[in-house]
């Protein structure tokens, strides 16, 4: 497995929306490299024909009936909002598109 570089940490931080400081990049690069190096052992089983387990218990088809339940009041919904306006969550300018 390749080691993890400062640039990779910066990329991960961008993906994860963490505005890391320059000194943190170095710090985390070293630590993440150590951790990845240690846990990379799992790939020993990568080629084995073993099904992956995503859920600890083999439950299936857990569903609810399509019945309306009470919602929060808008006051409750917005109670934790750092900023609000017109009964909506107020957020800074959005740059993206989607």
């Amino acid at each position: 497995m390749p080691g993890i570089t400062r640039e990779e940490v910066a990329h991960l931080a961008r993906l994860a929306r963490l505005e890391l400081k320059p000194e943190e990049l170095d710090h985390f690069a070293g630590q993440l490299d150590d951790i990845i190096g240690a846990v990379a052992r799992v790939s020993e089983v990568a080629d084995q024909d073993v099904p992956p387990t995503s859920h600890p218990l083999p439950l299936t088809n857990v569903m609810r009936a399509d019945e309306v339940r009470p919602s929060l009041t808008p006051e409750q919904a917005l109670s934790g909002a750092p900023a609000q306006e017109q009964q909506r969550f107020k957020v800074p300018q959005i740059l993206g598109e989607e």
Binding site: M1, I4, E8, V9, L12, A13, L15, A16, R17, L18, E19, L20, K21, E24, F28, Q31, L32, D34, I35, I36, A38, V39, A40, R41, V42, S43, E44, V45, A46, Q48, V50, P51, P52, T53, S54, H55, P56, L57, L59, V62, R64, L72, Q76, A77, S79, G80, A81, P82, A83, F89, V91, P92, Q93, I94, L95, G96
Partner: protein, 498 residues
Amino acid sequence: MSDQIIKLTAAETAAKIASGELTAVEVTEAHLARIEAVDEKVHAFLHVDREGALAQARAVDAKRERGEKLGPLAGVPLALKDIFTTEGIPTTVGSKILEGWIPPYDATLTKRLKAADVVILGKTNMDEFAMGSSTENSAYGPTGNPWDLTRIPGGSGGGSSAALAAHMAPLAIGTDTGGSIRQPAAVTGTVGVKPTYGAVSRYGMVAFSSSLDQGGPCARTVLDAALLHEVIAGHDPMDSTSVDEPVPPVVEAARNGSVQGMRVGVVKQFRGEGYQAGVVQRFDESVELLRELGAEIVELDCPSFDLALSAYYLIAPSECSSNLARFDGLRYGARVGDDGTHSAEEVTSLTREAGFGDEVKRRIMLGTYALSSGYYDAYYGSAQKVRTLIKRDFDRAFEQVDVIVSPTTPTTAFPIGERADDPMAMYLADLCTIPTNLAGNAAMSLPCGLAPEDNLPVGLQIIAPVMKDDRLYTVGAAVEAAFVEKWGHPLLEEAPSL
């Protein structure tokens, strides 16, 4: 009087309240006084809800006066890990990013406690987002181990274990993703149970790693843990991963402890390098005790357990990187950088940078890495395969034995600060507890003595198959009784007074 009240077990307390010998208010006041007296030193609580607790206690007393039937834990105080939402009461998960957040809803577990008339004293300290084994990762400062305040009380649920060990509450709630109930129990000389995954609702429990997280009971005795287990367990339609089966008869099991004729497994992978001599010694004595009590000891080989820690440190961070994405400073919690010059994206990045501690950031990035394209198969995918292998090892093991025992943790409580900047060393604390989280089965830690070299508590872990949680209590109660008889008193009586 107050001193005697706080030493009572939950079962005794409930009986005295039911008979009128004590009122719930007296009991609550005694514990609030104890918190007042010692928590400045211990720092087990992040928030004490004095008024709420007393109001709940008064309601219990009123109920009794009206002649209404009380539940088995009515009026008994409890310390709730600050990871469960509590309507109207701050919930921080030990993180700055949720500082001041007051949830508009109760977790299912919170509701169940209230419905059972358990008195919630307040919210306990924890490693931020339950990531850690020492409670040093709390954004609000570490918790001290009542056995030695310079040492860690375990983690992530160190506040809960310390509250029990310091007699600030007879009952507590923890959550266990990789050992966060059992390891704190082990290092504080208390009892902690990770029920079968899905046995206790996760609704309203702030997620760290969804497929591993499990809430469970913490107490000073096996019976108390069982009584609490019965209150909090059971199917919840709000949690899709909740098991829709009857709760195993845990209280009955705790009242009828026995290991006579039981097959008890000892896994060869749970010893060796990194295990403290005194821990191994107490563990070996426990196995001997089990044999004396009539159990048949079976040696087991579970080769995949060697990969458990690695799989865990891929799966848990992966899930956490996604679970914690919602903390973006836009809808609740802290917001940093909203000064008119930053976009929403920038505010999110600034908020997360300022709001999360190092361990949380480390795991988020680790998980982001493990899930990213090009690495998924090697890391996350392989980890999920390891998970299958671990389940198979357990399945094979439980064909041969009824329960498995091991040390709960390789060492006793280490000094605060010792492993703070060495994540890998910290992760080793969960070496023995992690396989059950990956496989989903049940496990308990209970005290098995003090390590001779440091006079600190050692935990014995008992592991049972999925939905056979009652076996933990059958074995745990027998072992507990034998030890108490051998020591002449519960282990906690040897703890220094605060």
